[in-house]
């Protein structure tokens, strides 16, 4: 028993000493860290390197660096949204991110939202999105966001309509894009475009409610094929 006991002590004692030393080391490290003074987030972001410096260090994995910047950007935005709602570095972060990974669509969209909603700079947002379109010509989302920015933030329906129409013609765009484009064209005074777009909505939509709306707009715009009473409304009357 004595032997087993002394063997146990021989094991426990160094273990205890080891953990005790660790317990002492941790606060030392914390104290040292505090005394050295960690740079604030903002100072660090002010010195954030440009994409040209980061890219060579990524060893071909630039998209991974972009992912990291994305996570940092989200955290930065979230932290400041809860406090001062000031985001002086969000634009530079997203610019670096999209230079590293030009196909990071969500970054363009998020950036445009922040620039319009939080920074009140729709013009900057549109230029940022246009840059994204150059590298992602097949993305419907970017022209859609440009159209929405013109429509909602600038109230420039005439400028919004062609962007929305372009987005509506692209693969993957939701059906509602075409309707939005038609609305924009109509509100922007471009009746020809509006007619064209509403006709497309009517022909392509599979939903009766949407066809009813399209029919009514085509009727208002005086399309010769849509002079009869709205059959979708008539059906509703008959049903009721």
């Amino acid at each position: 028993m004595r032997r087993a006991g002394s063997a146990g002590l021989a094991l426990l004692l160094p273990l205890a000493v080891g953990f005790l030393l660790l317990g002492v080391a941790v606060p030392i490290a914390d104290g040292l860290d505090a005394s050295l003074g960690t740079a604030t987030d903002d100072v660090e972001l002010a010195l954030f390197p440009k994409s040209g410096w980061i890219r060579p260090l990524t060893c071909g994995r630039a998209e991974l660096a972009a992912d990291y910047i994305w996570l940092r950007t989200i955290q930065y935005y979230g932290a400041h949204r809860k406090t001062d709602r000031q985001y002086p570095y969000v634009r530079s972060l997203l610019t670096t991110l999209t230079e590293l990974d030009p196909h990071f669509i969500n970054a363009y969209v998020f950036g445009s939202l922040v620039m319009t909603e939080d920074l009140g700079q729709p013009g900057d947002a549109i230029r940022f999105l246009e840059g994204g379109i150059e590298d992602n010509p097949e993305s419907w989302w970017l022209p859609f966001e440009i159209g929405v920015t013109h429509y909602i933030h600038r109230r420039d329906h005439a400028s919004a309509a062609p962007w929305l129409a372009r987005a509506a013609d692209m693969e993957g765009a939701p059906e509602s894009t075409r309707r939005l484009a038609a609305y924009a064209a109509q509100k922007g005074g471009d009746e020809d475009v509006a007619l064209y777009l509403w006709l497309e909505v009517f022909e392509q939509s599979e939903q009766d409610e949407v066809r009813r709306v399209a029919y009514s707009y085509l009727q208002k715009l005086g399309h010769p094929d849509f002079l009869d009473p709205n059959p979708y409304e008539l059906e509703e009357v008959q049903d009721s």
């Binding site: 890219r55 071909g60 998209e63 992912d67 994305w70 996570l71 989200i74 196909h103 969500n106």
Partner: protein, 256 residues
């Protein structure tokens, strides 16, 4: 061929019994943890981050396996004097190299396959889609490692293990920056420097080509022609590297 197969099987068995593939355990844990921890912070880009981290990790872990196993493939035979066992028999030195490569390639195939399964599992558990493009991307990583493995053997045929490991790692890093080297070359005005960089760009493998992630993220995949060229480059580069390694080994005295 039987000789090459026997050497390859022995090399494969050596690495397996050396428990190198325990590395995969760390990979699995790391990837699962990274995906689970980062995805909630990514504002809807969890799939992208999981894929980027996953594929980069497969590449990096594969590189580590290539270095740990590859750098000592020849040195160990000299150090343990098992080279007597091989070259007291009618084994060509170039067959020896090909056999070693086959064994290393087998290890990498098993490792990449296992890591690919783990990645797909993590994506599935997280509710993210993964289609044929993801499988293709994993295949591209395997082609990348094929090229690296052949270069590792060439380097190991004439250097010490430490130097071989460092040079292989350097080749991995520089190879992924090959595109940047070419861009740098274009901006240089000194013809001599341009020539040097051009020579470097020919020798260093174009590993960056295998890291094009856009087709994966957009679920469009590489075209058959692109994939064919990718396979062709890997096969040709590997054959060239192993042929050179055979030449180096042929002229080498073994002081056992």
């Amino acid at each position: 061929m039987r000789v090459i197969a026997a050497l390859g099987w022995n090399t494969f068995l050596e690495a397996i019994r050396d428990k190198i593939l325990y590395l995969l355990l760390f990979f699995g844990i790391f990837l699962f943890a990274a995906s689970r921890l980062l995805a909630p912070l990514a504002l809807g880009e969890g799939r992208r981050i999981s894929l980027d981290v996953g594929l980069a990790s497969i590449s990096l872990f594969g590189c580590l396996i290539t270095i740990f196993v590859g750098h000592q493939l020849i040195f160990r035979e000299i150090d343990q004097k098992t080279l007597y066992f091989v070259f007291s028999r009618p084994v060509r030195r170039v067959d020896f190299i090909w056999g070693k490569f086959l064994g290393l390639w087998g290890i990498l195939a098993v490792a990449v396959f296992a890591m690919g399964l783990i990645l797909c599992g993590v994506l599935a558990i997280s509710g993210y889609s993964f289609g044929w493009p993801v499988i293709q991307a994993i295949g591209l990583v395997f082609l990348e490692l094929t090229v690296l493995a052949s270069l590792a053997l060439l380097i190991a045929s004439f250097t010490s293990p430490i130097l071989a490991g460092l040079l292989t790692l350097s080749a991995y890093l520089i190879g992924h920056g090959s595109g940047d080297i070419l861009q740098l070359m274009e901006s240089l005005t000194t013809p001599a420097l341009q020539s040097v960089l051009r020579a470097v760009s020919w020798i260093v493998p174009r590993l960056d080509l295998y890291g094009e992630m856009l087709p994966v993220l957009q679920d469009t995949g590489w075209t058959a022609v692109q994939y064919g060229w990718g396979i062709a480059y890997a096969v040709i580069y590997a054959t060239a590297a192993l042929t050179l390694a055979g030449v180096v080994l042929e002229r080498r005295d073994f002081h056992l």
